[in-house]
Symmetry: D4
Subunit: 252 residues, 8 copies
Amino acid sequence: MRDLLETVAAGELSPAEAEAELAGYVTGDAGRFDAAREQRRGIPEAIFAAGKTPAQVAELAGTAVETTDRALVTRADDDHVAALESHLGEEYPDATLERRGSSVLAYGPDYERPTLEATVGIVTAGTVDGPVADEAQIVCEDAGATIDRIDDVGVAALDRVLDQADRLREADVLIVAAGREGALPTVIAGLVDTPVIGVPVASGYGHGGDGEAALSGLLQSCTVLSVVNIDAGFVAGAQAALIARAIDHSGE
Amino acid sequence: MRDLLETVAAGELSPAEAEAELAGYVTGDAGRFDAAREQRRGIPEAIFAAGKTPAQVAELAGTAVETTDRALVTRADDDHVAALESHLGEEYPDATLERRGSSVLAYGPDYERPTLEATVGIVTAGTVDGPVADEAQIVCEDAGATIDRIDDVGVAALDRVLDQADRLREADVLIVAAGREGALPTVIAGLVDTPVIGVPVASGYGHGGDGEAALSGLLQSCTVLSVVNIDAGFVAGAQAALIARAIDHSGE
Amino acid sequence: MRDLLETVAAGELSPAEAEAELAGYVTGDAGRFDAAREQRRGIPEAIFAAGKTPAQVAELAGTAVETTDRALVTRADDDHVAALESHLGEEYPDATLERRGSSVLAYGPDYERPTLEATVGIVTAGTVDGPVADEAQIVCEDAGATIDRIDDVGVAALDRVLDQADRLREADVLIVAAGREGALPTVIAGLVDTPVIGVPVASGYGHGGDGEAALSGLLQSCTVLSVVNIDAGFVAGAQAALIARAIDHSGE
Amino acid sequence: MRDLLETVAAGELSPAEAEAELAGYVTGDAGRFDAAREQRRGIPEAIFAAGKTPAQVAELAGTAVETTDRALVTRADDDHVAALESHLGEEYPDATLERRGSSVLAYGPDYERPTLEATVGIVTAGTVDGPVADEAQIVCEDAGATIDRIDDVGVAALDRVLDQADRLREADVLIVAAGREGALPTVIAGLVDTPVIGVPVASGYGHGGDGEAALSGLLQSCTVLSVVNIDAGFVAGAQAALIARAIDHSGE
Amino acid sequence: MRDLLETVAAGELSPAEAEAELAGYVTGDAGRFDAAREQRRGIPEAIFAAGKTPAQVAELAGTAVETTDRALVTRADDDHVAALESHLGEEYPDATLERRGSSVLAYGPDYERPTLEATVGIVTAGTVDGPVADEAQIVCEDAGATIDRIDDVGVAALDRVLDQADRLREADVLIVAAGREGALPTVIAGLVDTPVIGVPVASGYGHGGDGEAALSGLLQSCTVLSVVNIDAGFVAGAQAALIARAIDHSGE
Amino acid sequence: MRDLLETVAAGELSPAEAEAELAGYVTGDAGRFDAAREQRRGIPEAIFAAGKTPAQVAELAGTAVETTDRALVTRADDDHVAALESHLGEEYPDATLERRGSSVLAYGPDYERPTLEATVGIVTAGTVDGPVADEAQIVCEDAGATIDRIDDVGVAALDRVLDQADRLREADVLIVAAGREGALPTVIAGLVDTPVIGVPVASGYGHGGDGEAALSGLLQSCTVLSVVNIDAGFVAGAQAALIARAIDHSGE
Amino acid sequence: MRDLLETVAAGELSPAEAEAELAGYVTGDAGRFDAAREQRRGIPEAIFAAGKTPAQVAELAGTAVETTDRALVTRADDDHVAALESHLGEEYPDATLERRGSSVLAYGPDYERPTLEATVGIVTAGTVDGPVADEAQIVCEDAGATIDRIDDVGVAALDRVLDQADRLREADVLIVAAGREGALPTVIAGLVDTPVIGVPVASGYGHGGDGEAALSGLLQSCTVLSVVNIDAGFVAGAQAALIARAIDHSGE
Amino acid sequence: MRDLLETVAAGELSPAEAEAELAGYVTGDAGRFDAAREQRRGIPEAIFAAGKTPAQVAELAGTAVETTDRALVTRADDDHVAALESHLGEEYPDATLERRGSSVLAYGPDYERPTLEATVGIVTAGTVDGPVADEAQIVCEDAGATIDRIDDVGVAALDRVLDQADRLREADVLIVAAGREGALPTVIAGLVDTPVIGVPVASGYGHGGDGEAALSGLLQSCTVLSVVNIDAGFVAGAQAALIARAIDHSGE
């Protein structure tokens, strides 16, 4: 520890980097950033922007880039993105920002994205499921998995999904996002011999709307599925990435 | 009316038959029986046994047989059936009783069952949906429709239902009963060009169990379905019979 | 198939038309359009605008017109309508657009609306039920049924509905839209011998508001009703149209 | 107070009677009995048996008879009734017990039932609503109101209720008990110019069963109704009795 | 009827007035106005503005003034009020408009407000319950009852309500509006011997917020209460007015 | 640790006692007993019997007596109690068993119950709240607090609670158990200047029954209350005991 | 009382101060202010701004300052704060205003804040829990307790909370605010021997969002916790202050 | 197919075996058995006994053994087991039956259980979670995975789980079953870098009881988890087995 503190004193290491090294997390005004999460959990911490102020999101993302060379922000609105661009642009001018829907991935020039020998299939039932699938996709890409994205194959026209059966069977793990009655994950899980993660999407209206019908349908599925919360694209993506990682590692 | 009252006075018509003639319903200790319902509503009144005492059910069924030559009792337990058999056996010894699951149909020797030129397809997703489909079936049979019953074609093994696609397309109207996540009515409604009535069944466990997931899934279906309450086999059967009747009449 | 591909190569058939012919659906950036739905399901696909971007709605509607000579868009807000008008005006300048409330029907110059020998009665309990009934009505009109619309006959003043009993009995199938406590569909279903479809409407406030009281009341109705989700005017209209179609065909 | 304590010392007044006189309530092992409730609230305390042991119910009823010459026990099962009969038979051998359904009224030889110049109409939609209406009726009878009971006039056959319109209009206040979708109180409230109290009944099954659909329907009624909890026959009866009492008193 | 039609032909009676006379209601573009409701139901129809367009509200109010010399509009926002003022100002320039919160009462120069010999006490638990109590008050005033309004006597400081016990006991019927946990109606109903109507108010936050805790508390009250829906000031006022009317009439 | 293992080897310490000493908990077939909980948490672990087999409960209680000289079992039915008596009677014949309702306290001959200089007031609204209050009481007694129990002072007769105001103010902390609408904790919390813990009780029926109305009412209380789950007498008692302990310790 | 009224007549005491003295509360247009609450309840009344108009809030705060030299306003938005600043600036120019998040504390120049010899630990699981903890903190500070605030120690990285175990054990009472699944209060309550109050926070999305999952988790906690409503920072702070006060007083 | 039919004709293959070969499923009175599920889905069909009659369960299990040499029955009560033992004992006397809790695994003498090079960790929070974990375990064992079972490490005593951290990190995939507030899966998922599947268990009481609090807590978890329905041990086990299978295959 003495060595580490001396590098701080010498200005070679920022206090945040040192705290990350020693405690595993970094404490700031906007909260603590869990810099050791990837190492401990296999998946780095993401910053959930909804409910935080733009300044808090920007500070947390800055700490993430400073200590782990990378930041992933989800559920960011335009104000969050503006604050991110301004703060990172100032503090980490070399960092690259990629936006996919409401998610932003930022990384420094030396960041090496991992690669996994495994394919995550990401499937949507309809057009409105797209943003949730996008959130899952950025997480899986960030983890280094290969993505096979198949859109708009809802069961109202069964041929749309049956026509994709071969591609579905080739993925190592599948994420299936569906709103309304959420029948698609069940139908797909009956066709493939790989793990399927169902993501209910907050579409629909009236009784069971906002994803509640889809959630309860997925939980009741007569096939084998595991489920994440309504619209939880991040969680589905991270769980799929952990499975992809387990598959990849076992092949070593 | 004078004539009618004279036939009562002469003992040629029972007071109940006369009240049925005059008021359309018959008033007894166990409630009023709506003797005019078939004429007015197209479907005769059924006696819902659950929540009534065996004696009340027996009395109401007796009134039904006395005034309309027929009685249909649903949701009858063994005590209800025993009371029915005893009461009708005593009062209407010529009546025939048919039991299907928890339903009992009783009719007098002169009763002529109607016939309809229309087929109602009745489909179940799994073994536990059988009793609900049975309740729908007895109503449709009683109304004179042809029945095509197709059991246990749940979507976990999609071939089971695709193998029946031609039979499904030949029915004039379909009743599809499904519990758990209730995906089958949606899948079938995507395959046929006829009206489909979905019946959620009170199976499943945990969140969305007891038919609530199936109900909300059917209400949210991305195809065209109309729905009845959980386990409402009678209502589904009666609605299908009214559609069959409309089809039949229009062909006259 | 060779012939078809040659007409594409010759520019006589658009790729979308060819895909519709071969696969039954057309794949675009905004999703897949189910061009074969009318043929398979009896009712053409409608485009549910809520939750989609104006550009997605316009693209899907364009594909619909291109491949089926017709498009029906429901739950469109002003932005959706503007995008529709602009996109279709540019791409299919001959197309006609009809707006009823939040629905838009677009069709090309050669489009022949079907006709059905059957009447759908559409009834509302109060002024606020109008838009939901409108959505049902445009679907039934589009399917070619005759419409008999009866407005504002809620049960608080029973004479309003009893005065219409004869008209109600003359329809082949009835759609009854009601919010608040939803008593009207039950009262009407006790008066007629035809199928009644109840549509709960998201009116009311406090406990059971937003249509939940009406929905549970319709599901619990002591008469024979089938039900669609809260505000599901499209589904009610399409189900009524399928029944009208079955009646019409049987009369052939 | 001295005088009162001396009558206790002299054995002319029981300690319970004295406590009732001084505090308004009597404290025993089974709880406190509110002996002053009739005077303060217009309606004497009733003993709700469900959830209490037979011994507790019997002790509370004994205290009620001792201090107010009367006891009303509701929701009593057979064990409660046996304990009541045994305890009161021993301690108050002159008391009379009247049982109506699950309610028991006990009173001493000197008890004078009050009389009110007002009629409470008590109406049921179906046979299963009977026990709830019975509970309301015993409370109103106990309060001295005239009762007009009209059974089984549910809206599935509208004539049943229209045939009773004149009787309904003659009551000073109406209690209408209905389960399933609970449409009857709304229909009746549209026909009469007197206060209507709706009582939802725990019948029905599936979604909205156990009286929840009826409750939310009554709360959403498009007419003027006040409502009590599901199966709360006692509360409906007591509220009607208070209204009858207000009408009676004002006529003095 | 001939005479009546001749007065129409002669321009002495408007078609709306004639329809009101003959049918009891008047049919317009915005719906049917129940002109006979006061006569039939004891309380005239009110126009619930929420969910209707300003133009619809204004038309219905105009019809009400034309045929019954009076209109009561509830839940009106500023746009509704502006449309009312403009439409009525043009068509019925002699009419007077009174606004209380979100309610508007309009009446013609010859309108005679009824009077009742009965007092309705209207009580609130807190400042936020005021608008709901206002809605009840305008209905009772319109019906001619005397009002005793007692504000902000919630049970957190019990003295506030105990200090008003005598006033509370003097009213003939009480309306008590309370949000949050809704304890006040129960406490008051334990102190008075008159009918109490509880109105849950949509205040509070978190679990049981928006009036649901208050509603369920009032339904479960261990005293005698009847209840209306959350925020249903109109219904509470109308029910209290019907009770006041019954008291008044009986005193004749 | 060597010393400890040697005492085990010498048979002076049982393996369970040694594991408790080393790990803080003891592992058996029926689960792990947290022997260090009192030291860590201030309140010893209790064994919640519901959902466990009698044999599991008996084994866990035996381990508790063996390692901490004491066991508290809650929610025990007769089978649990029989197994407890048999197992403890055999293994720990010197132990004393005390039963209060569904709770059982067992302790060895050397057990010294702690004492606290603080009074916990335990209050019930009605007779049915007794068992929940009993569960709280046994926990507080076991922790050494003085108990002041005040029963059946529900707000329907406000004098019952106002008569106890002085006793209520003298307690250091209050537990108030109430079912139905749960108004009593709010009323009491308005009268005293000490912490009040509200316990909703699963009484009542219909909407908000089984304690849900009381729970939401306590959470919405306009006074200051903290709350535990429905029927959670143990939790309320333990929290009150922790507060009593904090008061007692601070006085040292 | 005569003396008091003479000081009013002499202008030495305002009418509001006199009413506060005599009745314990002050009646104004915006409601009644409970000036005696601190004395009776141990915690002064706070003014909950949400749902009140800015003018009502300002008037109530003015009355509070006038009669108790202090006012605490919670859930104030910018309009409320502006009205407060304007009204108090005019009427009580000597008063000081402190704003923390959505809370405002105002006090006169002679106000002496109490002090308590007790520490309240206030803990958050994440950044979004901050405002709820702030509300609790201002109440505890206002009551004179010492505060130890520990932020952002959610269980996803268990080291964050374990690193604070010693600080957590040193507080006399703990408030733990957590949204999402609300696991932190349970984890902390397993580590300390003092009372823990859990505050569910309205974060999260989908099923169980808006704090409902956290609330039900806290109520089900397998440790000892008491709970307040979702986001009820004020209630948690006030309950902790009452406990701190009891601890402080006992040490006298 | 001709060959196959000839072996049937020759009595070398049963009709059921032939149907399984041709259609993939076998149709009997008790429903269709999906004999091809293992091949298609990776996990063989299990027979869910709850809701089926003992005879139905026995017939389906017989068909499973006949066509796949193995049957797994879950949620079997004593009657189901008796019927299984009797039917299989008669028809397949060589079959072995293994019972674990409410699950029964039956297999013929030639059945070769698969083996997977992967470890599934199965963890419970408390004693009552055991049966749900047992159901998961039998499925994983049947699929050939290595099981590491860790019981009763709930978070009330955090050391219990921290003491197992190394074992937890060594599993390839984890199933964590927890009732009440369900905090354990979240705590474990923060400690390991492998996929965690949370199973909410129907324990607890009051609000959020029967597993609903645990389910919503798992869905809201601030870590990465996927979830199955309440008590869905079979689904959790099958999903874990599919992941184990993917890991195993990738290592080939």
